[in-house]
Symmetry: C2
Subunit: 154 residues, 2 copies
């Protein structure tokens, strides 16, 4: 663990791990460093590759196990695609407080959006059923109105 680059987010992760009675292992912190260092939306396979490219070896099983914990504690946001695949993004609340996603079908780009009145409407719907919203998914897909897609693919 002494080789890890100090990271201001380790404190938060370590608290989450402790709260679950889990140890702050090298692998868990390395996974968090990787995930928190990018705003990309990635699937398990891509995250694993990105780790390997940095010569960080973490097994697939450990990655699955660790990501579950992070999602449970909202360190990560899990995006469920219509295909049943999952993408993950870190959830630094200070940067993008709360948002949903819209995917461009043409270029695959994922944009984030947030609208306050949608939350109000959702709350009202739940209230009418005597429910308190605990989880929400709101995802859109769209096709580009131009002949050729105008979103720059980097």
């Amino acid at each position: 663990m002494e080789n890890l680059i100090p990271c201001r987010f380790h404190v938060e992760v370590e608290e989450v791990l402790k709260s679950e009675g889990l140890r702050a292992t090298k692998q868990r912190l390395e996974i968090w460093d990787e995930l928190s260092s990018s705003d990309k939306h990635r699937d398990i396979e891509t995250i694993l590759l990105d780790l390997q490219n940095k010569k960080i070896n973490v097994s697939r099983a450990t990655l699955y196990r660790t990501i579950d914990v992070f999602v449970k504690h909202s360190l990560l946001k899990k995006i469920t695609l219509d295909s049943g695949k999952f993408l993950y993004e870190h959830n630094k609340k200070t940067i993008t407080p709360k948002h949903d996603h819209i995917v461009c079908e043409d270029c695959g780009e994922i944009f984030e959006f947030y609208d306050n009145s949608i939350s109000s409407i959702e709350k009202k719907i739940a209230d009418d059923l005597n429910l308190k919203v605990t989880k929400r998914v709101h995802q859109l897909s769209g096709s580009c109105k131009d002949d050729k897609c105008s979103h720059a693919k980097n």
Copy 2:
């Protein structure tokens, strides 16, 4: 096919099949009869069991293949759960034109809701990105505010 109970929805299904260059086989119509006869939200496994209980034998492979076609043509609505599992419900437009879902975490009951202003907001968000909404998912989960869940589980 002569043993099939006549069903007013067969016309629509046969049109969809024809439009895809597919034949109106016994299996495809039986699957549609089963799906259109209930308002339940079911996964593949449950649908298969429900068919078997009615002594209708359709292979899992055929069910998957057929459901894909129905979803593509909006005869069925596919609900993607957070776990990555899928549920299907028939899409009789004349009954519930367009709706989303909210699941009670306590009893598993799925309620439908629809709010017109959400559509408007979605449209605006897409417009701003030069996108036309082609697909949308909006699902909520909630916990019951009562001590014990007040939704009757049938």
